[in-house]
Symmetry: D2
Subunit: 150 residues, 4 copies
């Protein structure tokens, strides 16, 4: 793998460098036998973190901001929970499965609550987009948690 190829394959298309990083990790992907499910959960968590951050901001710009106070609050919580979940999942060296599972569970709960609230504001299109990101992350984390069950 050359530098140029790496950039062409990941950088220019705006894709993630994480799959390549995992392929070159000295211990490989140890957290899950299903590397695809793991990468999907990490990607979904960081995508949801960004989307919730931006949805809180979009809600703040709405003329009826009073009506979306609960949505902003859940967006902020969900963005934080997803960021931490993504970081914990990105580490492959000697994971503690109890820690990973508990954070995945917190992420499932946060995405479910935020997504449900966003769906009640679907007349705001950004809330509809955010609900999709939350659902994707909830499903990906739920699937991964199942694969890591004791």
């Amino acid at each position: 793998m050359t530098n140029a190829a790496t950039t062409a394959g990941a950088g220019q298309a705006g894709q993630s460098h994480l799959p390549q990083l995992f392929e070159t990790h000295p211990r490989g992907v140890t957290l899950s036998r299903d590397a695809g499910a793991l990468l999907e959960a990490i990607g979904a968590a960081f995508d949801c973190a960004q989307t919730c951050t931006a949805c809180a901001d979009a809600c703040l710009a709405e003329p009826d901001v009073q009506a979306v106070v609960h949505c902003i609050r859940l967006n902020l919580d969900c963005a934080d929970v997803c960021t931490t979940t993504g970081r914990v999942l990105a580490r492959q060296t000697e994971p503690d499965l109890a820690v990973v599972r508990a954070q995945l569970q917190a992420c499932v709960v946060a995405c479910r609550a935020c997504g449900a609230e966003c769906r009640t504001h679907a007349h705001h299109q950004h809330c509809q987009v955010c609900a999709d990101a939350c659902r994707r992350c909830e499903q990906a984390c739920d699937r991964l948690a199942g694969a890591l069950a004791p």
Copy 2:
């Protein structure tokens, strides 16, 4: 409360401004009837986040860094989990108790795992200090989770 008094009371002594913030919150402290338990959990979470960040760094500087790889990994996870927990708890406006409880539970698990690992390296004094910070945070989050139980 004047600006000067605030600074004298909190800033100069290096204490937290959070108790004053909560006293002046338009809805008060809604998350828990026991504001002291809440403030202790927030303070413990941010203290643990800092201490785990610094303990990972101190471990990295140890001549026998190979022996503390698992400790560094848990320190990094615990720092992230505690930061997110502290931020979620710092919000009083329309909390979702399921989200708060799930994140508190993740924090209890992370602090328990990190503290237990640190105690096995108690010949490194920084690991002993970190184990104390983890135990304080685990206990504070466990107590608050109990008070928020459905």
Copy 3:
């Protein structure tokens, strides 16, 4: 835009929901006239945050971890700086340009330092991948900072 179409367009392919979020933001993309440059900077910052988190972890798993202590340290700093930069850039509502520019500058400096260090460990393929992610983020933030110059 239907829920199904949104999921098909972004969720299933693992792509970011952020472009759709920005299209539906009540104030539009206010931070920069060049929405493409902004989205590239946000995408590069979150990609670099993930990649640096995973590279620190991969370094930690190397048999010669002593030789990559400085790399781990810079990876951890760069991951934190990129996460905050991505979050600040994801907000479009009434940005303070001085704040945005200063954080972009910190991100450029962190990515430059981390990428340079990673390139000195290019025999570790993960460091090579991380150097690419750092270069992409440095360039994207530098370009955006130029577009936001006073």
Copy 4:
């Protein structure tokens, strides 16, 4: 130092474990010759992060939330910038001074902007408390940046 003494000295009083951590760091406090200035900057950064998180939340609960949209936005930025600054400063192992200085500078700018905005809403007492936390952090980071100047 015994476990019990540590807990009595730091945990019960709600004080930070960080000074003890630094005293036991294998390389000592390498970032600055003035450990007091460093600890003050770290403490002020994490205090400001918490206070800004809570002030954004208190603003969100105000009946005139429309009037504090800019304040919420700056609070969110400042909370993120301070968190990252505190984490970077908490690491003593082989710091890159250019990275540390650039992040300190971003923190000074963010605290100045957020504090100034909060002072314009001083009829909200939480904004007044937050302005104090921002000023303390701005001053501590500015002082430390001066001590680290090339």
